[in-house]
């Protein structure tokens, strides 16, 4: 119990801002929450790593994507299956911000791509159909270049690069020039690069094109393993049915429209899935 003198001394000796500290803490907390809200758009992670709502895209009068809607749940492997010209690459170009659709809702980990493109792109790792490595630079230099484009400091980048190279088992090729790598290893480097900044979702546009069956199988297995073990969401575009596993989510795209969206195993096993896919695409041709 403090007497009156002690109370008075207490208030004199205390810094006058002390009584305001709880208010300052509340403000800081709110500021932090506000910044977090700005960064993520939501305080809790959304159920979908990627959500596309009614995406329409046309080149002049030619409609490439016709009101596409799809979602990739957190930690899921989603195969985007479609024949050549189905609109997969256009979809990837819109998702990666290379093309902009005025009539689309694309949300990456809950962030609206159109409203906050830089924040949304920071949540994505992208592997393009064509190789995008600088062939004259070493594997490590290529990865360092990408890390810098993501704004990573050299120290953080060095740790992330070693980790990514270990994940993709390419550490022994770190000093080799990209030109000296075979197609399979180039793809591994590109996947390692896409994982450097710990993205919430990785988009891969026909990553096995031009690879032999063994390399194709190795890459497909590797990405499935990443998805299962590390909880990274994956959108994998392909025209090859054998790259789709029964447990995968499957979206069939044909002539710019979604023909099927559900679990792959619902369509049957490898053989029957292939037949069903061909039947579906032939029926709408």
């Amino acid at each position: 119990m403090l007497n009156g003198r002690s109370k008075a001394l207490r208030y004199i000796s205390w810094p006058f801002h002390r009584p305001l500290l709880p208010c300052v803490r509340v403000l800081k907390l709110r500021q932090g929450r506000f910044i977090k809200l700005l960064k993520t758009g939501n305080s809790s992670p959304p159920a979908e790593a990627l959500k596309v709502e009614k995406l329409h895209y046309a080149y002049g009068k030619h409609t490439a994507l016709d009101s596409i809607s799809l979602a990739v749940p957190q930690g899921a492997f989603c195969a985007l299956l479609g024949l050549n010209g189905a609109g997969k690459s256009t979809l990837f170009a819109v998702l990666s911000g290379l093309l902009v659709s005025s009539e689309a809702g694309v949300f990456v980990n809950g962030i609206d791509l159109r409203a906050k493109p830089r924040l949304a792109l920071g949540q994505m790792g992208i592997v393009f159909q064509e190789t995008t490595l600088d062939l004259d630079l070493s594997v490590r230099r290529n990865l360092q270049y990408f890390a810098a484009l993501q704004g990573m400091s050299s120290k953080t980048a060095a740790i992330a690069i070693d980790r990514a190279m270990d994940r993709l088992e390419i550490r022994d090729r770190a000093s080799d020039r990209a030109r000296d790598l075979n197609g399979g290893h180039r793809r591994r480097v590109e996947i390692a690069r896409a994982l450097l900044h710990n993205p919430k979702i990785v988009l891969l546009d026909e990553p096995t094109v031009g690879l032999d069956p063994a390399s194709r199988a190795a890459i497909t297995d590797h990405v499935h393993a990443l998805c299962a073990e590390e909880g990274i969401s994956v959108l994998w575009a392909t025209h090859l049915v054998d790259e789709v596993w029964p447990e995968d989510n499957l979206v069939i795209l044909h002539q710019g429209k979604v023909l099927y969206d559900g679990l792959a195993k619902t369509l049957g096993n490898d053989g029957s899935m292939s037949e069903t896919f061909l039947d579906m695409t032939a029926a709408t041709a």
Partner: protein
């Protein structure tokens, strides 16, 4: 801001490394102006008489006259070569990597421009060094004063290349642009002869050459090499830079894709 500076450093380093790896490009960048300096100028020095015009205070040799023009030519070719690499990058896909990074697109294009400008300045100094070795000297202070001017002229010519590359769909189209842009820009300028000589044959050509941004870049370099500042030329270069970079930014705007025909980029 920090992320932007990290990206700038990385892009400049990459441009420099690419340039060093491409030895053929370095050699051709030096041989081109040296042929003009050591062969063309030697043949024409007795044909072309030069009066005393600013910034010169005395009679100079023809070789000394064309050095600033050849510095500009090095930067012009580098700017075009850089945009050629952009078209190549876009076809090969590595441009996508740049454009999908989480940084403002205008900043990424500026980084690319700065990278190409650094390379062009390195080429110009190598050329000036060889010119000095063959006995063609500039005033000592000129070698330092020309540096900031070359940053502006390099950025302007690089922005021109960037603007052109945004309109070019395929690498094959670029050869035509070289013929329709580089040669007219070079010959309709004060790089090889003073502009007053053009008035003797055609007043129209004189006016076209006077408004040519490359002429202004050459004049800005010429004055700086002789320790003087040509504000009009510098201002014209800055204005041209703003114009070209504006066109390039519109050209690389992803929203433009929906207005064009064809497939994905």
């Amino acid at each position: 801001m920090k992320a932007g500076m990290i990206a700038l450093h990385a892009i400049i380093l990459r441009e420099a490394l690419r340039f060093l790896h491409q030895r053929g490009r370095f050699i051709s960048a030096l041989v081109r102006p040296l042929v003009w300096l050591l062969v063309f100028a030697a043949g024409f020095r007795s044909v072309l008489g030069l009066s005393i015009i600013p910034p010169y205070e005395t009679y100079i040799t023809y070789e000394a006259y064309i050095v600033p023009g050849l510095c500009g030519m090095v930067q012009l070719f580098n700017g075009m070569q850089s945009s050629l690499s952009l078209v190549y990058d876009r076809e090969m896909g590595s441009m996508r990597l740049l454009l999908t990074s989480p940084l403002p697109r205008w900043w990424l294009l500026m980084c690319k421009l700065m990278g190409s400008t650094v390379v062009s300045i390195f080429q110009v100094y190598a050329f000036l060094g060889i010119a000095a070795a063959t006995g063609i000297f500039m005033p000592l202070e000129g070698y330092f004063l020309v540096l900031p001017i070359m940053v502006v002229s390099g950025m302007m010519l690089g922005a021109l290349g960037l603007a052109l590359s945004s309109t070019i769909k395929q690498l094959e189209n670029f050869a035509g642009v070289m013929n329709f842009v580089i040669f007219p820009a070079f010959f309709l300028s004060s790089a090889l002869y003073p502009l007053w000589k053009l008035t003797e044959s055609s007043r129209l050509l004189f006016y076209i050459a006077s408004t040519n941004p490359f002429t202004q870049a050459v004049e800005a370099i010429r004055f700086a090499l002789y320790g003087q500042l040509n504000l009009v030329a510098l201002g014209w270069c800055i204005f041209s830079f703003c114009l070209f970079i504006g066109i390039a930014l519109i050209g690389y705007d992803p929203a433009r894709g929906s207005k064009r025909k064809g497939g994905p980029p």
